[in-house]
Symmetry: C2
Subunit: 206 residues, 2 copies
């Protein structure tokens, strides 16, 4: 139950130089390994080898594959993506959809996202980290919906979180479930559908 009881949470009390360097190298290596083999074949010994770090160190600091993914997601959540502002809801949502789509179609990022989502189905800590990651990403794009409401493009009371999530959802559905292609047409359709639904008041919260 009590986590890290034997080792008193390494990486906390002496965060100078080496500790941070090891963490960065391991998280980088973990991302590579996840993108290449997926979550279920994530081998901590392999990650240690790639990172040029002792096997024991990885087991000591992260304990399980899922714990490593959870920490990787914390790191990923801090890497903010650039957001455009066009003055039109549809253009903003399309820019978001294309960005998400390019990410999921990317040869490294696509498999990586599949892997972290698989990890989140297996471990509550990873799931919590994944939820925080998406909450962060969605919050970054919420302003364009708020501005559309302010401009009168959308009914007041529209939930920005719901609208932004509605853009991503069909793209993730393609990635994980249907296998339909993740091309620009799919992105534009996702943006158009979310915008149309928002204009019709489908995301007005009670």
């Amino acid at each position: 139950m009590e986590q890290g009881s034997r080792y008193d949470q390494p990486g906390q009390t002496r965060p100078g130089g080496r500790t941070a360097r090891v963490r960065a190298a391991v998280l980088r290596a973990a991302g590579d390994a996840l993108a290449e083999h997926g979550f279920d074949r994530l081998d901590l010994a392999d990650v240690a080898r790639r990172a040029g770090v002792g096997r024991t160190t990885v087991y000591r600091r992260w304990a399980t594959p899922a714990g490593l993914v959870a920490d990787l997601l914390v790191e990923m959540a801090t890497e903010s993506l650039p957001r455009t502002e066009s003055g039109s809801l549809l253009d903003d949502l399309r820019a978001n959809a294309r960005l998400v789509c390019r990410t999921l179609a990317d040869p490294r990022q696509g498999p990586l996202f599949k892997a972290v989502i698989a990890a989140a189905t297996a471990d509550e800590d990873a799931a919590a980290a994944l939820r925080r990651f998406y909450a962060t990403r969605i919050a970054e794009w919420a302003p364009c919906v708020e501005q559309a409401v302010a401009r009168g493009e959308l009914p007041s009371g529209t939930d920005p979180h719901e609208v932004v999530a509605a853009v991503s959802a069909p793209l993730y559905y393609r990635l994980l479930a249907s296998g339909d292609p993740l091309d620009e047409a799919a992105a534009d359709r996702a943006a158009a559908a979310a915008a149309a639904a928002a204009r019709a008041g489908a995301f007005v919260s009670p």
Copy 2:
């Protein structure tokens, strides 16, 4: 490479009684184990024990956890769900959304779906089986969109597959990514959004 070369594909040449009984028991047990522990903790020895079947049998016929999930998905695809027909697109889509939502929120089915999706991220056979599963489910509900087009409720050229997928997508996004609640309000919002987007012509294929 060549699958089952050593054992000449058991279950094929003599499908009478016992073979089918063993398959049914193992798939049932696999579903239980997946729902309880998730894909990454799926232990074929445990499945064999639950099914009251020899450990060797499970390894011989399905070889890997992912192979077992792939076969389970083939079985799940044959289990058709009842579809209502109300004469109104929104009502039909809402019925679909609520059905999907109840399934994903169900204490057994929800974790089971998480697990098979995790398996599909790890194995191409499981992924192909999952795609067939969703293609089957979506095709079952496509007629209600076709009828809406015929009634003039939707623009002609609307892609039924896209509309039905648009209903499910936000619910799966909640299950796997955002962690937002899977309640009836979420289902109704998903249906309303898909219907509004479809009416606006967002799913007209080129």
